[in-house]
C-alpha cells in the first residue's frame, strides 16, 4: 500500500458552475520517494496541493485520496497536518501580529496533542528552532517578527522549509519552493530539503525548473497537463522537458 494514494481525482472550483481543474489524476507516493511534478502554468499543480492540504475552495467530484489507508479527504485541515501532511506554499502569506515563535510552537504542540504526545518544553523548543533556523540562514530578527511579515520572497520560502523541518511531516508537498530564490538560497533550501529526506518520508516537489532537480534529485518525474498526469518517468524526463518544453502535450490535448 502506498503511503499517499491519489486515485482518479476529479475536482472543480467550489460553486454552481465551478470549472473542473483536476480531471482524473492518479499518483502513488511510497515512503522514502521523491516525486517531481512539472507542467505548464495553470495545469492544476497548486490546486492539487491545496486539495491535499484541505483548502475548501475546491470540490472533489470523483476519486479518492488515502494516507496510509485512511481517507484523507474526510479529514479536517488541522487533522491532516497532524497526520503528517505538510504543504510548503507557492505564495506563503504574511500573518501580521502573530509572532513566528508563537505560531511554530502552537503548530507543533497542536500536532503533538492530536497525536497523543506530550507538549514540547520551552528550552527544547527554543533549541530546536535555533538549530534548524541556523541551518537555513534564518536570523533571530526574522523569528522575532510576525509570521512572514516583511520577509522577502526568498526569505518566505526559507521560512516554509524551517516550518517543515520543525514539524517533521510524513508527506511534504513543496509548491515551487525554488521560485524567487537566488543561487545561494536555492542551495541552502535544497540542502534543507535533502536533510529531511528519509526512508519514512515522502515528498512531492512541484517545480518549473530542472535546475532544482539537480539539487533535490527525484526518484520520479511526472508531467501534469490540464489536470492529469500525462507522463511519468525517471529524473531524465526533467532534462527532456527542459530541452523540448510542453509543446508535445499541448498538441496532444488540442
Amino acid at each position: 500500500m502506498a503511503m499517499l494514494d491519489i486515485d482518479n481525482l476529479h475536482a472543480k472550483i467550489e460553486g454552481e458552475d465551478g470549472k473542473e481543474i483536476l480531471k482524473g489524476l492518479s499518483l502513488k507516493v511510497n515512503p522514502g520517494e521523491v516525486h517531481a511534478i512539472m507542467g505548464p502554468n495553470g495545469s492544476g499543480k497548486s490546486t492539487l496541493s491545496y486539495i491535499l492540504a484541505g483548502k475548501d475552495d475546491y470540490e472533489v467530484t470523483e476519486g479518492t485520496v488515502t494516507l496510509n489507508g485512511e481517507d484523507l479527504l474526510d479529514m479536517e485541515i488541522d487533522e491532516r497536518a497532524a497526520k503528517g501532511v505538510f504543504l510548503a506554499f507557492q505564495y506563503p502569506i504574511e500573518v501580521p501580529g502573530v509572532a513566528t515563535m508563537t505560531f511554530l510552537r502552537s503548530a507543533l504542540n497542536a500536532q503533538r496533542k492530536k497525536r497523543g504526545e506530550e507538549e514540547i518544553s520551552t528550552p527544547d523548543f527554543l533549541r530546536l528552532v535555533r538549530e534548524k533556523a541556523a541551518g537555513l540562514g534564518i536570523s533571530q530578527d526574522m523569528l522575532k517578527r510576525g509570521v512572514n511579515v516583511g520577509f522577502s520572497g526568498g526569505e518566505k520560502k526559507r521560512a516554509e522549509i524551517l516550518q517543515m523541518a520543525i514539524l517533521e511531516p510524513k508527506i511534504a508537498i513543496l509548491d515551487e519552493t525554488d521560485s524567487g530564490l537566488d543561487i545561494d538560497a536555492l542551495k541552502i533550501v535544497s540542502e534543507g530539503v535533502n536533510a529531511l529526506r528519509s526512508p519514512e518520508r515522502g515528498m512531492i516537489v512541484i517545480t518549473h525548473y530542472q535546475r532544482l532537480l539537480n539539487h533535490i534529485v527525484p526518484d520520479f518525474v511526472h508531467v501534469m497537463h490540464k489536470g492529469r498526469i500525462v507522463r511519468s518517468g525517471g529524473k531524465e524526463l526533467a532534462l527532456e522537458l527542459e530541452a523540448n518544453g510542453y509543446a508535445e502535450y499541448q498538441q496532444d490535448a488540442a
Binding site: G54, I77, D78, V95, G97, F103, Q163
Partner: protein, 437 residues
C-alpha cells in the same frame, strides 16, 4: 398654550426625574448650581433616542427600560471579592464601590511628592482650588449621561499632580458594583500641572446576572507639556448598563494616550470629548471592544482641534461574536485656526458571529486649509487564507481564530505604554477568547 411637542416621558425618565428631586447638597454654591442646572437640562430634554444624531445607534430611551434607585454603599467584603481587574499591575489602587470611595480598600499611604488624591466627597466638603476645576469641562451640547452624572454623583476621586511632578507608579481606580440592582454614579477629576506625568487606569466590574447601572464621568485637565496615559478596562457584569463620559482639556505640547478595553455590560456607551486648545500636542484615543451574545457597545468620540500643529490618532478594533453590535462614531473638528493639524481615525471590525453588526460613522469637519486628515473603516470576517495557513500547520480552527483575533486587537493594545497594564490587557483579551472556545 404649549407649542412644543414633547415625547411622552418613559418610565425610566419619570423615575430619573424622581431621583433628581433629591440632589446631593455638598460642594458649595457653584457645585449646587451645576447640579441644579444639570437636573433641569435632564428634565427638559430627557433620554436621547435615535433621532438625536449622537445617539442614533444607541437609543437610550428604548435601551434603558427603568430607572433604578441610586445605590447605597456596599459591604467592603463583597467589594473585595469582585475587585480583581488589573490587580497584579503594581499600580496604586483606589476602590470605588457603588459610586463611593472605600477608604479601607484604597491605598492612600506614602503619596509621591506632588501627588494629591482625595475622595471627591472629601474634596467637595473641603472646597479649595482643585474643586474649582470640577465641572469646568463641557461637551458643548446636551449629554444626558453626563447631565445625570453631574446632578447625582456625590463621590469619586479627585487627583492632582503638581507641575513638573513625574508619578512613576500608575494609579488604578477600581470601580466595583456590588449588591442588588441599583444605579451608581461616580465623578472623577484628574488635574495634571504643567510638565507633570501620570499613568491613570480605571476598571469597571460587577456581578453577572444583576441588571445594575453604572454612570461614570471623569474630567482630565492636562496642562502644557504634561503627559497622561489613560488605560480603561470595562468588564461589567453581562446584564449591566454602563455609561461613561470622558472629558479632556489639553494644553500645548501635551502627550496624551487613552485606551479603552470593553468586554462587559449588556449596553455600553462611552462618550469622549477632547478639546485641544494648546499647540503641538499629540493625542491618541484607542480601543479594543470584544462583544458576544447580544451585547451592544457604542464608542462616540468628539475631538476638537482648536489650535495649530496637533496630532490626533484614533484606532478602534471591534471583535463581534454572536449577534452583538458595535458602534463607532468619531468626529474630528478642525477649527479655522488649527492649521497643520494631523488627524487620522481608523475603525476596524472583525465579525465572528453571523448576526453581528457594526455601525461606523466617521466624520471630519474641517475649517482650516492646511491640514492632513483622514479616516477609514473596515469590517469583515476573519481572512480565510490566514485561517487556512494556520490550520494547514495543524492549529485547530478555534485556536487559529483566537491567534488571529489576538493579533487583530493586539495592534490597538500595543499602543499602551505601561508594560504591566499592557500585559494585563493582553490577558483580558486572552481570557475573553478562552471563554469563547
Amino acid at each position: 398654550m404649549n407649542a412644543e411637542i414633547r415625547p411622552i416621558r418613559t418610565p425610566a425618565e419619570q423615575g430619573l426625574s424622581g431621583e433628581l428631586k433629591n440632589l446631593p447638597s455638598s460642594g458649595g454654591a457653584r457645585i449646587v448650581a451645576l447640579r441644579e442646572a444639570a437636573a433641569k437640562a435632564f428634565n427638559d430634554n430627557g433620554l436621547p433616542h435615535r433621532r438625536v444624531e449622537e445617539w442614533k445607534y444607541t437609543d437610550l430611551r428604548t435601551l434603558m427600560r427603568e430607572a433604578l434607585p441610586v445605590s447605597s454603599p456596599a459591604q467592603s467584603a463583597q467589594v473585595e471579592a469582585h475587585a480583581r481587574l488589573l490587580i497584579d499591575t503594581g499600580a496604586r489602587r483606589l476602590v470605588i464601590a457603588n459610586g463611593a470611595v472605600v477608604p479601607e480598600l484604597s491605598d492612600l499611604a506614602d503619596l509621591e511628592s506632588g501627588l494629591t488624591i482625595q475622595p471627591l466627597a472629601t474634596a467637595l466638603a473641603a472646597g479649595g482650588d482643585l474643586i474649582a476645576r470640577l465641572g469646568t469641562l463641557e461637551p458643548g451640547r446636551y449629554d444626558a449621561a453626563l447631565a445625570l452624572n453631574t446632578a447625582l454623583a456625590a463621590d469619586g476621586v479627585a487627583i492632582s499632580v503638581a507641575p513638573g511632578a513625574v508619578i512613576e507608579r500608575p494609579i488604578h481606580v477600581a470601580h466595583v458594583f456590588s449588591g442588588k440592582a441599583a444605579a451608581s454614579f461616580a465623578r472623577n477629576l484628574v488635574v495634571l500641572g504643567a510638565g507633570a506625568s501620570l499613568t491613570y487606569a480605571e476598571s469597571f466590574e460587577g456581578p453577572e446576572g444583576v441588571a445594575y447601572q453604572v454612570n461614570s464621568a471623569t474630567e482630565f485637565v492636562v496642562a502644557d507639556e504634561a503627559s497622561l496615559d489613560l488605560v480603561r478596562v470595562q468588564e461589567e457584569g453581562a446584564n449591566a448598563l454602563h455609561l461613561s463620559t470622558l472629558l479632556f482639556e489639553v494644553g500645548k505640547a501635551v502627550k496624551l494616550n487613552a485606551f479603552t478595553f470593553t468586554s462587559g455590560a449588556a449596553v455600553t456607551r462611552t462618550s469622549l470629548y477632547a478639546r485641544l486648545n494648546g499647540a503641538d500636542s499629540a493625542v491618541s484615543f484607542n480601543g479594543a471592544i470584544l462583544l458576544k451574545d447580544r451585547q451592544h457597545a457604542d464608542s462616540t468620540l468628539f475631538v476638537d482641534h482648536q489650535t495649530t500643529g496637533c496630532e490626533s490618532r484614533e484606532l478602534f478594533k471591534h471583535v463581534l461574536d454572536d449577534s452583538s453590535r458595535g458602534v463607532f462614531q468619531g468626529k474630528i473638528v478642525v477649527r479655522q485656526p488649527a492649521q497643520k493639524t494631523d488627524g487620522r481615525m481608523m475603525s476596524r471590525a472583525l465579525l465572528l458571529g453571523d448576526d453581528a453588526e457594526m455601525d461606523n460613522k466617521p466624520e471630519l469637519e474641517i475649517f482650516a486649509d492646511d491640514v492632513a486628515c483622514g479616516h477609514g473603516a473596515t469590517c469583515g470576517a476573519i481572512d480565510d487564507d490566514l485561517l487556512f495557513y494556520l490550520r494547514a500547520r495543524g492549529i485547530p480552527l478555534k485556536e487559529a481564530q483566537s491567534l488571529l483575533v489576538q493579533a487583530f486587537v493586539g495592534e490597538a493594545i500595543e499602543t499602551v505604554a505601561n508594560d504591566e497594564l499592557r500585559d494585563a490587557l493582553v490577558e483580558r483579551a486572552e481570557a475573553w477568547l478562552k471563554a469563547r472556545a
